[in-house]
């Protein structure tokens, strides 16, 4: 495994922010956990624990998924949100949305096939496995799938594979308190709720954006 989700520094992401989480200095939602109801606190704080070893992905699939999610979610250094492990447990426990497109296999199978195809593309194009490729090559291989739009990627509709990857990846990543710190979202709000409603209003535990003009939509330098 090139990137074991269950051991090493990857698993130590807990309290504190992510690299890049500099817009809301000092904001750490977990400091408010004592105000959360116990059922919610149990579910959310569980995400900070060291992830379990994979039960769904094979070791090779896990390595490819790690590399894919690192690119999709720009996780370049530790500590990382353990996205692969979170996706793995959803698939192992069949916590999928249930539905599938008629021209796609069910989610678990779609994951296995799409990871295998990424590896296949890497071998064809660069003569090595996907996770053995340098990052710029990995990004090119991923970009190729996105660029296909509604065309097929091998035997699968590319747009639906893209949607599968981003849906699972974003659901895992943005369920993690470290990601909430980065975006200024305080997480669970029961039983306390909010009192300061309205534009520009802050609760005592919220933090203003320190770079409000840093508008990714306007500067075009994403």
């Amino acid at each position: 495994m090139t990137a074991a989700a269950g051991s090493g520094p990857r698993s130590r992401l807990g309290r504190g922010g992510l690299p890049g989480g500099t817009r809301f200095p000092g904001f750490d939602v977990t400091t408010q956990a004592r105000h959360w109801d116990p059922v919610t606190a149990g579910v959310v704080l569980d995400r900070l624990r060291s992830p379990e070893p994979p039960r769904f992905f094979t070791a090779r699939e896990e390595a490819i998924a790690d590399a894919l999610f690192d690119q999709l979610l720009a996780q370049r250094e530790d500590p990382r949100v353990p996205v692969t492990a979170m996706v793995d447990s959803r698939l192992a426990e069949q916590r999928t949305d249930g539905w599938r497109y008629a021209d796609m296999p069910e989610d678990g199978q779609a994951w296995r096939e799409s990871l295998r195809l990424l590896d296949h593309d890497a071998a064809q194009r660069y003569g090595r496995g996907f996770c053995e490729c340098p990052e710029d090559q990995q990004r090119e291989l991923i970009q190729h799938v996105q660029d296909l739009g509604s065309d097929d990627w091998h035997h699968l509709p590319a747009g639906r594979v893209w949607s599968l990857w981003t849906r699972y990846g974003c659901t895992a990543f943005y369920s993690h308190p470290a990601a909430w710190n980065e975006i200024g979202f305080p997480g669970p709000a029961y039983p306390r709720g909010y009192k300061a409603l309205g534009i520009g209003s802050l609760e005592s535990f919220e933090v203003h954006d320190s770079r409000p003009q840093d508008d990714p939509a306007a500067d075009g330098q994403a």
């Binding site: 890049g20 817009r23 959360w36 109801d37 059922v39 919610t40 579910v43 959310v44 690119q71 999709l72 979610l73 720009a74 999928t96 949305d97 249930g98 539905w99 599938r100 497109y101 008629a102 069910e106 990004r139 991923i142 996105q146 981003t166 849906r167 974003c170 659901t171 895992a172 943005y174 369920s175 990601a179 909430w180 980065e182 975006i183 200024g184 979202f185 997480g187 669970p188 709000a189 029961y190 039983p191 709720g193 909010y194 009192k195 300061a196 409603l197 309205g198 534009i199 520009g200 209003s201 802050l202 203003h208 954006d209 409000p212 003009q213 508008d215 990714p216 939509a217 306007a218 994403a222």
Partner: protein, 553 residues
């Protein structure tokens, strides 16, 4: 005593303090035996099923409602968290297809007592009078066998029972609401500011969240997690608005029971009960009448799976109408970026709406219209919106870090009922051995034109409010149709009282009976139709026209 309490005491039957359920009420619930021939068995305990259950229990009927999911305890079972709320949805296998397949699961399905109203936003607008005759007035859609006037009193009654908060409503049949409007958060402020600058009328509400205490239900705490199940008991769902009163009047709610077939007596052609699976065991509940309220996918699926010698193509399907004319609303979401901090996650997502574009405008190239409402996606749903623009990697993270600056509006476009937008049975079987539903959807030109027009108006509102950038995601919301109401068996599965044409003692009392959908969220209309069906059923039993129901009211 409060007038609502006299006819539906649900809010007063909940306990106060930390508990959100009344343990005495649930423990003391009447329990029928499978071999009892009860007066009515209801399949599905959501908007339609629970309303029918409460009304018939009040009338003294021996009635039970079966639901495939759990009997929720909001305190123990729900969390104030997006990813942790996955169990609120219907996630059994389904296949989607067509030119514009509609993803199911999270956004348009429910599971458990309370149905999808457990996780709906809480918007409860009425349909407009024009919705009931779009075929004659606009040349599209269908005419209902009833008019708005047939539902008006039921709308008012349900609005009081939920109860609904909002400003006076100037559209459709103008009306007021029992509770005054809630204060709005940043998202609502932006909508109101943009609309005012453009001369568009927007109003606060209508939202099924009590403004103030209501019985033992506490005040809303504006925490923004309406779509994850209201742990507060402030937002209305049948779990707290109709089920408690039903239990108090002797109804049974049987949770974790998946109904797999409706039993038919081949000789008489009448329904005799339902087959269901509970804890792995197949059982059969006998009843004099059966009502199906499983919503637009599961209701047609159950009818089609209940084929028998007398109904070889599926129950009530002699005219090939079961599963057809299923509708979703086109629900594009447009977000705008502001230098100010909007923080749309604070306050309930349902805040402000406009129905100014609801009706057919003869100057436009399309028929019918759309409504616009605040929606306030939490981070995971917001990431889907951002990722849909094609952003990934560093680009995605940067956009996401800008979350507090965005305001988000959603439209509901009236997609037209089309025969080929339908539920059929797939080859694939689920773990009960029952064929899974296949749902095919393709938009027509009018649908697509509405999506574009709605996006245009939302962009204008956001820009007028000061947004420097906007971005839109195309999506769908809600489900209705699939067993529509008609004037006769060749154009409908049920008649105007929700009774099936084919089986005299079988009713359908959910969103699948709607022939058209307007641009309104369907929950209130589904409850109003079920309440009306219950009244007619009870009155029929009293006058002797019981079609086999031998109970007096």
């Amino acid at each position: 005593m409060n007038a609502v309490r006299r006819r539906n005491a649900s809010a007063w039957l909940l306990t106060d303090g930390g508990r959100r359920v009344n343990p005495r009420l649930r423990a003391g619930m009447r329990r029928f035996s499978d071999t009892d021939e009860i007066d009515l068995v209801i399949v599905g305990c959501g908007a339609g099923g629970s309303t029918l259950l409460q009304r018939t229990a009040r009338a003294g009927w021996r009635v039970a409602a079966l639901d495939a999911g759990p009997f929720w305890d909001p305190e123990a079972d729900w969390v104030s968290d997006e990813a942790g709320s996955h169990h609120l949805y219907w996630t059994d296998p389904r296949v989607i297809t067509g030119d514009d397949p509609v993803p199911l699961g999270s956004n348009n399905s429910g599971r458990g007592v309370g149905g999808s109203m457990i996780h709906y936003a809480g918007y409860t607008p009425r349909f407009h009078p024009s919705d009931f005759h779009t075929r004659s007035a606009d040349g599209v859609g269908a005419d209902w066998p009833i008019e708005y006037a047939d539902l008006r009193d039921y709308y008012r009654a349900i609005e009081q029972e939920l109860p609904v908060a909002g400003q006076h409503w100037p559209w459709g049949d103008p009306h007021g609401y029992p509770h005054s409007p809630h204060p709005v958060g940043g998202n609502g402020e932006v909508f109101l500011r943009g609309a005012t600058r453009l001369g568009i009328t927007a109003r606060v509400g209508p939202v099924a969240i009590a403004n103030g205490r209501f019985g033992s239900r506490p005040h809303c705490i504006y925490r923004g997690f309406c779509l994850q199940g209201c742990k507060v008991n402030a937002k209305a769902s049948p779990l707290i608005t109709h089920v408690p009163d039903a239990l108090q009047h002797g109804a049974e709610v049987r949770a974790d029971c998946m109904v797999t077939g409706i039993e038919i007596d081949e000789r008489s052609g009448r329904a005799t009960g339902v087959r269901y699976v509970h804890r792995g065991r197949e059982r059969l509940q006998r009843a004099r009448m059966v009502a199906v309220a499983g919503y637009s996918i599961e209701t047609p699926r159950l009818l089609l799976n209940s084929a028998c010698r007398r109904f070889p193509d599926g129950l009530c399907n002699e005219f090939d109408l079961v599963g057809r004319y299923v509708m979703v609303q086109g629900a594009p979401q447009t977000a705008g970026r502001f230098d100010e901090e909007v923080r749309m996650y604070k306050a309930p997502p349902p805040e402000v709406s406009s129905e100014q574009f609801y009706e057919t405008d003869p100057a436009k190239p399309y028929r019918r219209g759309f409504s616009i409402q605040t929606v306030s996606p939490l981070p995971i749903t917001w990431a889907e919106h951002v990722a849909a623009q094609g952003h990934w990697g560093t680009d995605l993270r940067r956009y996401m870090s800008d979350y507090v600056h965005w305001c988000c509006l959603g439209a509901l476009c009236e997609f037209l009922p089309l025969p080929d937008n339908r539920v059929t049975l797939a080859e694939e079987k689920d773990h009960f051995g029952m064929p899974v539903a296949q749902f095919s959807y393709s938009q027509c030109d009018n649908d697509r034109a509405l999506m574009r027009a709605a996006q245009g108006v939302m962009e204008e509102i956001l820009k007028a409010a000061g947004a420097d950038e906007v971005m839109t995601i195309g999506r769908y919301a809600h489900l209705v149709g699939g067993a529509r109401m008609g004037t006769g068996p060749s154009d409908g599965v049920v008649d105007s009282s929700c009774r099936t044409f084919a089986v005299p003692n079988l009713l359908i009392t959910d969103g699948s009976v709607l022939p058209t959908q307007g641009s309104a969220n369907p929950a209130l209309t589904i409850m109003a139709i079920a309440a009306r069906a219950a009244d007619l059923l009870i009155a029929g039993a009293r006058s002797g026209n019981s079609q086999g129901v031998g109970v007096a009211g």
